[in-house]
């Protein structure tokens, strides 16, 4: 069963192609991540999914609804955690939940029970009658998540759900998202935290310039795109060491600033050599999603202006 089906999805603004022929299937019940540098087309893809903008060409199906034609019916069954805070500052925590529920036409005893549940889920029961302006960043984010769940959605779309949060607040959001997954809810999230993607996502797509560069589970992506071991070396003689030893001992090396990254399947010889070099420091670690991401999308800054 697919929750989302995209075929040849393309969105152009003038001569600028922001989403460039994306084909994707998100399965029901999975956590699917969209990764990519700024300007990769993540947010535009989410807006297309929600029917907030019409595709230039291609097909979108969300929960079996054709988008954008049936976007209204689809949105009744979807929860959204937007990137930008849109809580009502004039309302308390519960008033925010009741007001948002009213947009879905929800009311009555069932809604009251749901609000109690959501306050608990967001760990905001003690703050139920506090004004939104008195909440910390983490609490606001949790309230936004609780608000997105008011209609018991089958699919929750989250645009950078933990950006700007401290580690504790982030952990709490992750816990809540995991417990949502156990209830069978499908999650689609964008992030540029590789750790978040690796921990939460069953599968993910790495996007750049509107295209899918790679697709798979975090483990599959690491296995398919990068050597399993990474040794980061730096120190005064690192440049000459790279040419004389590094590039022969590793399958691939890359210099970024003062650091040489050595990618390898067998790091024994490399490590043996480095232990004889008191002028070089090194970190030895397994390859991560971040290495895949940087390899595929490049190390240069992506600073395209945002809309």
């Amino acid at each position: 069963m697919t929750a989302i089906r995209l075929r040849g999805l393309t969105k152009c603004y003038g001569t600028d192609t922001v989403v460039d022929g994306i084909d994707l299937d998100v399965r029901r019940g999975e956590c699917f991540g969209l990764l990519g540098p700024n300007g990769a087309g993540k947010t535009t893809t989410l807006r297309l999914l929600l029917g907030h903008t019409h595709p230039t060409s291609g097909n979108i199906e969300v929960l079996g609804y054709g988008i954008p034609q049936e976007a209204r019916a689809m949105r009744a069954r979807v929860g959204v955690v937007p990137q930008q805070d849109s809580l009502d500052p004039d309302f308390t925590v519960v008033e925010n939940l009741y007001t948002y529920a009213s947009y879905f036409g929800l009311r009555g005893a069932d809604l009251e029970a749901r609000v109690v549940e959501l306050l608990e889920l967001a760990s905001l029961t003690a703050k139920a009658n506090a004004g939104v302006l008195q909440l910390s960043g983490g609490m606001r984010r949790r309230l936004t998540l609780a608000r997105a769940l008011v209609n018991r959605p089958d699919l929750v779309i989250l645009d950078e759900p933990t950006t700007g949060l401290d580690p504790q607040a982030r952990q709490l959001i992750w816990q809540r998202l995991r417990s949502l997954l156990t209830t069978g809810t499908t999650l689609v999230l964008t992030t540029h935290y590789m750790e978040e993607a690796a921990r939460l996502c069953d599968r993910l797509a790495i996007l750049d310039r509107g295209r899918v560069l790679a697709l798979g589970s975090p483990r599959e992506l690491i296995a398919a795109h990068i050597e399993p071991r990474v040794v980061e070396v730096h120190g005064p003689g690192v440049e000459t060491w790279r040419l004389s030893h590094g590039q022969h001992l590793a399958s691939r090396t890359e210099q970024v600033g003062e650091t040489v990254f050595c990618y390898t399947t067998d790091d024994q010889a490399l490590l043996a050599d480095l232990t004889t070099r008191p002028d070089l420091w090194f970190i030895h670690r397994p390859a991560s999603l971040e290495d895949v991401f940087l390899k595929l999308t490049g190390r240069e800054l992506h600073e395209e202006p945002r809309k």
């Binding site: 929600l50 209204r72 019916a73 009744a76 979807v78 009502d88 004039d90 009213s102």
Partner: protein, 260 residues
Amino acid sequence: MIDWSLPSLSGRWIVVWRRNLRVWRKLAGPAVLGNFGEPLLMLLALGYGLGGFMGQVNGLSYLAFLASGVVCSSAMNTATFEGLYSAYTRLSVQQTWHAMLCTPLAVDDIVLGEAMWAATKGTMSAFAILVVMVILGVVHDPIAILALPILFLTGLCFASMALVVTALAHRYDFFLYYSTLLLTPMLLLSGIFFPLEGLAPAIQMAASALPLAHAVALVRPMVVGAIMPASLVLHLLVLLGYTAVALYVSTVLLRRRLLA
């Protein structure tokens, strides 16, 4: 790609209206004080103070003449402010409309809900002036209550016009073009502070091309108990026409802005 289709008039706008009512109720104290206090002071000062020099205007005391016009401009001002500053705050600062668009609500529902709400607020402030007029002894006939639907329509008309401006705005200062270049001249030349009849024909023409003069022409005889003008239907059509066109244009512009 611009969606030129007519606004879909479903009943969903009511939840947008209710959301705004809920916010208003939290801040109702100062709002009600403002609704009553300002017109009361203005009518006392100008109506009695200035009126003392003027005698009768078009067969009415100056206080009655002024108050029966101000009731219209108050509906206009309140609805306009709500459609400009408050609506823009919800559109851009608070992202309220973006949140609504993540639910089954559509842009058309939001625009209609906002226009109806701003019209409601306009009617509330106009009603406050009617109450002040009763207290000051200007309004005697309960038939004056029939002016409320016209005042609501006046509010809806100016709310819709304000939403057109909001749809084009990218900062609050932009609204000064609209209020300085259009609203204020219209306010001064719509027969609220002095009768239009003595003005140059060109100015009279300009005034009658704009909606406020028509609202005044309808509301003034209703509240002071005078005979309704023969051109009643024409005045009503002008108000309805402005409302319909502005509602349509603001919906199209906001669809373009929010669903780009």
